[in-house]
Subunit: 440 residues, 2 copies
């Protein structure tokens, strides 16, 4: 639909916008549609959009404090604001040795903390090889954790993904962690990193931070909390309990672009000890030297992340927080959770379906229930249901597999979603299910 090469001469904007309508829009998966219920949402807002515009318009690069002091200073302030909304412990605030930084994604966040922890343990134990280092997470942990470890040279066979099952609603079992660590220590390995998740990607499972944090602390292991999706909900008092125990974590991450209306991309990360990040990631080229930085008085965010360059990242988050206020943001989140609950009620009332995991937030994991206990056929039917429902083009849902069960995921989070969209989605799912039921 497009030519083989770029034009030599400028083309009119009108022509380009015509192509956007005719060739681009039809090829999109509409993440902002009110009938988008797949994966987790990428939540946008007018404030987030205005923030993007202002940041693109000013177009400064804030790699060091000097290259735009306010870009750095506003980020420090706004991440303190957000830490307070989340009731994070004081040691994550900028007043002491901790602090926050906006990463591009949760993947970058987990990578930088794996590197900080790797640097810390290598300095501590001295003469050792990467092949001795061991990391822990559950088998529900986001794929970016394994990828971060491999990037950092951790051996694949030293990545312990502890088995979970329905008995803990797919949360990590402290006992399995403790046993795994003990066994590794006995065989001479060096445990150095635990990734706990609050709101896993498959089913929004919650790892129990309190006991995990105690184990991490007792062995001196870095604990990271990946709360990319569900962490946002913790600005509401009624959801805050899910991150109880975060006070024993070394780092904590949420994706504000997932469920805090901050537009792609905005991934706040807090660390207890900012020097652990800086020690692992700092660079000191002469051409970026300036007087203040030598006195260690200011923050240079280039040393808190993978890349040197960074946009004016905090502007957008600052605008979202101010233009909506904590009250409205909480209400947005509660609305989504209530809509998910509404969908869950539909599922529970239909004998052909079942809710598969306990719902904590705005994700419902469900499926067509097995007939005569035939799990294979059940998986096949749900696979077909997913394909036919999505092929209507009316709604978009996604799937996962838990304990061998093919499961449908219904995640509420698009800002325009209302009850009528949830009702319509359920109508479509039920309709196609009844066609399948007749078939079998």
């Amino acid at each position: 639909m497009l030519p083989d090469s770029a034009p030599d001469h400028p083309e009119p904007l009108k022509e380009l916008l015509h192509d956007v309508s005719k060739k681009i829009i039809p090829g999109l998966t509409h993440w902002q549609s009110p009938s988008y219920f797949a994966y987790y949402a990428s939540s946008t807002s007018v404030a987030g959009f205005l923030g993007e515009m202002l940041s693109a318009g000013l177009s400064v690069v804030g790699f060091t404090w000097l290259t735009s002091p306010v870009a750095t200073e506003l980020e420090v302030i706004v991440l303190d604001w957000l830490a307070k909304l989340l009731q994070l412990p004081d040691h994550f605030l900028s007043i002491g040795n901790g602090g926050g930084v906006i990463q591009g994604t949760g993947c970058e966040a987990v990578l930088v903390v794996v590197l900080a922890a790797r640097d810390r343990i290598m300095k501590k134990v001295g003469n050792t090889s990467l092949s001795q280092l061991v990391v822990y997470a559950s088998d529900q942990t986001h794929s970016s954790f394994r990828k971060a470890c491999l990037i950092g040279g951790i051996h694949e066979e030293n990545i312990r993904l502890l088995k979970t099952d329905s008995s803990t609603n797919y949360g990590m079992t402290p006992k399995s962690l403790e046993e795994s660590i003990s066994s590794d220590l006995e065989t001479g390995f060096i445990p150095f990193f635990i990734c706990a998740t609050v709101g896993t990607t498959s089913s929004a499972a919650v790892d129990p931070l309190v006991p995990l944090g105690k184990i991490a602390k007792s062995y001196g292991i870095w604990m990271h909390v990946d709360a990319a999706y569900a962490g946002n909900a913790c600005i509401c008092p009624e959801f805050r309990k899910h991150i109880d125990g975060v006070e024993n974590a070394d780092s904590f991450n949420i994706n504000a672009h997932k469920w805090l209306f901050a537009n792609q991309t905005c991934s706040p990360l807090w660390v207890k000890d900012r020097y652990s990040l800086i020690n692992a990631l700092k660079t000191n080229p002469e051409y970026l030297e300036y007087k203040v930085s030598k006195r260690d008085e200011v923050v240079n965010y280039k040393d808190w992340q993978i890349s040197l360059s960074r946009r004016f990242r905090s502007l957008k988050l600052w605008m979202v927080l101010r233009l909506y206020g904590a009250k409205n943001l909480r209400n947005f989140i509660r609305d989504h959770v209530n809509l998910a609950k509404h969908f869950e009620d539909y599922v529970a009332q239909d004998a052909h379906f079942e809710v598969v995991t306990t719902r904590y937030f705005s994700l419902v994991c469900f499926r067509l229930a097995p007939v005569d206990g035939d799990e294979d056929k059940c998986n096949e039917r749900n696979r077909e249901l997913l394909a036919t429902v999505n092929s209507t083009g009316k709604i978009f849902i996604s799937h996962t597999v838990l304990s061998g069960k093919f499961i449908l995921r219904f995640a509420v989070g698009a800002p325009l979603t209302e009850e009528k969209h949830v009702n319509e989605a359920w109508r479509i799912i039920q309709k196609h299910a009844s066609i399948h039921n007749k078939k079998y």
Copy 2:
């Protein structure tokens, strides 16, 4: 100037914009000012801004082909367009095993290719330790190269930063590379990566790609070309010679946000063998599975980069290329180069100053000339000149150090810069220099 915590209730936009004027703008370093001549520019344009708006408005996430087919397909097409404008060899195009991908920054680009090369060599040599692997670059290479290597677990003492000097205008010497490789091979090391630069950060030095590429090829070493800044100029036939030899490289990167008017961030990377990236960076979580990907028919950009999530990155570049056309983009670049030449002429005509390195692009490296051969005093005078010139707040220039000489950098690249701004900058520099000259 700002409160300690986020507001509970929404604040009016008017109030926020008032704070932007009074508290944000005054704290910026104005990268888009026509009198900004520091570092390298972060070039913006109306088309780039519109691209950012459209991308933020649509707000789709293109991690796999399925999650917005057009976001992936347009990226493939537009990077082919840009590769053709740069006259890159066919093996970097999407038709064969190669292809392009937009990274966030040049830092991410060099990191992913170091990881791809590391994966390739580890598979090739089998049972070995990271401590055997050796990498090469010049001492002028961007700090992100060393950082990428350390992230990937390469030992610091195995990063060979080959010495350069004024005899090659700070370009890497093929002889020093060949000698270093030979000596490493003799002592049992495994050379696997060379980072060549076209347009270094300090002085826009150019490593000689033709001989370096031959060496890389003969030893089977991955060669990456970092052309973050100067690569953009290679869309002009008269500058294309600087990347002659790129046909022997395994990967090539430019920052279109630096000097192709694409706004932060847009960092195209091309690789000869896309499977080398995919093998090193792929993830296969069940919740992202879909039928087409299994047949390997489509591109899933999540496997070409560090992060899973990605915005609709190509839209902006597509708009820049179409709304200006290659012709205008070439003219923008030529204007900047001519303005730099204009400044260079001023420097050359003033006996108190000297041009320090040969200028190829839009960066002039200059300094107050030493008096009676006193290099220490000369450095001190230039350091003071930098500080006083920048403290006027009228212009912003930066510095570097080459062979112990403190050097001033005058980089043209802000889109609004005209001859009058260059004239005024020179007037300010000359005025402050004459104050210093009286002082000594």
